[in-house]
């Protein structure tokens, strides 16, 4: 048993994932640094981790989302960045939880597509009719006979 003194008390940490054709994680980090105003930012291969006072983090997240709203995704994280209980620098191999992110990361393009489509529908103020999937008209028997005759002639 040992006394446990936590770090970053009263802060929140959030993951920011970017899956965009027009922005890399590095570019996102550069633009986030410009707007950080005291929020701790850690660049990762998939985006960022941001840590700070809840209000500051919320403000930064709002700005970050605006860079590419349908391709930037955010979720809470329990541990602060670099925590020795989770950081792979101490553990080796993938960080616990990374594989779950990797699995969902592959689906983000479908979610982005859904968000874009919903935005498009809202801008149009009316839900576009789904593509018609009615039955195709059946081939008339006389027309079929004509086609056979043409083919055989």
């Amino acid at each position: 048993m040992a006394e446990y003194i936590p770090d970053y008390v009263g802060t929140v940490t959030k993951y920011v994932f970017v899956e965009s054709p027009s922005m890399t994680a590095g570019e996102l980090a550069l633009r986030a640094y410009e707007a950080s105003e005291g929020v701790l930012i850690k660049e990762t291969c998939f985006g960022l981790q941001v840590t700070g006072e809840p209000e500051s983090v919320d403000r930064l997240i709002e700005e970050i989302r605006a860079f590419d709203p349908t391709h930037i995704f955010v979720k809470d994280r329990g541990f602060p960045p670099g925590d020795p209980r989770r950081c792979r620098a101490n553990l080796g191999g993938a960080r616990p939880g990374y594989l779950g992110h990797e699995r969902e990361f592959r689906l983000l393009r479908y979610i982005s597509r859904g968000l874009e489509e919903l935005d498009r529908r809202e801008e149009g103020d009316a839900e576009p009719a789904p593509p018609a999937r009615g039955k195709r008209p059946l081939l008339d028997i006389k027309r079929l006979q004509e086609l056979i005759d043409i083919e055989e002639s």
Binding site: E104, L108, R113, G114
Partner: protein
């Protein structure tokens, strides 16, 4: 703003969509954060203490393995707090050891028993399903109260 429990509780997609559409996602990170930011006599690097299985007795019987009760000590209060829930039923990323698997079953059971509005759906596997997925989540969340205590 309604509190919406998400299952899988670590889901990036659900957490983002719930927050994006104006509500508060309740996931594993909130329970973990509360524990690791609380000082005390602990045995680092563990963030779960021997106290957790005792707290989990509120949600699971004493003969249930302590691993399940310990996990329920994190998820149970979140489920109690939740005003709605979104469940992805084919989440293979929720796969884990027997403790995780049984806890997941208990979480879904507890949510269904709680009587709160629940949206159940599957992860999209193409763009068309992606549109349907996002539309279903948005429609569900739009039906929840936006204001504190409002309808």
């Amino acid at each position: 703003m309604a509190k919406v429990f998400i299952y899988p509780a670590t889901s990036l997609i659900l957490s983002d969509l719930v927050a994006r559409f104006g509500h508060k996602p309740l996931g594993a990170a909130l329970g973990i954060r509360e524990r690791i930011q609380t000082a005390g006599v602990d045995s680092p690097p563990l963030q779960i203490t021997p106290e957790e299985p005792k707290r989990g007795l509120k949600y699971a019987a004493v003969e249930v393995p302590s691993g399940v009760r310990g996990r329920m000590a994190i998820y149970g209060p979140l489920i109690e707090e939740a005003e709605a829930a979104i469940i992805v039923t084919d989440a293979d990323l929720a796969f884990g050891c027997m403790g995780c698997a049984r806890t997941d079953e208990l979480i879904v059971f507890s949510l269904r028993q709680s009587g709160i509005p629940i949206l159940e759906l599957k992860y999209p596997s193409n763009e068309e399903e992606g549109v349907q997925f996002v539309a279903a989540v948005k429609k569900f969340l739009d039906g929840l109260p936006k204001e504190e205590g409002g309808a």
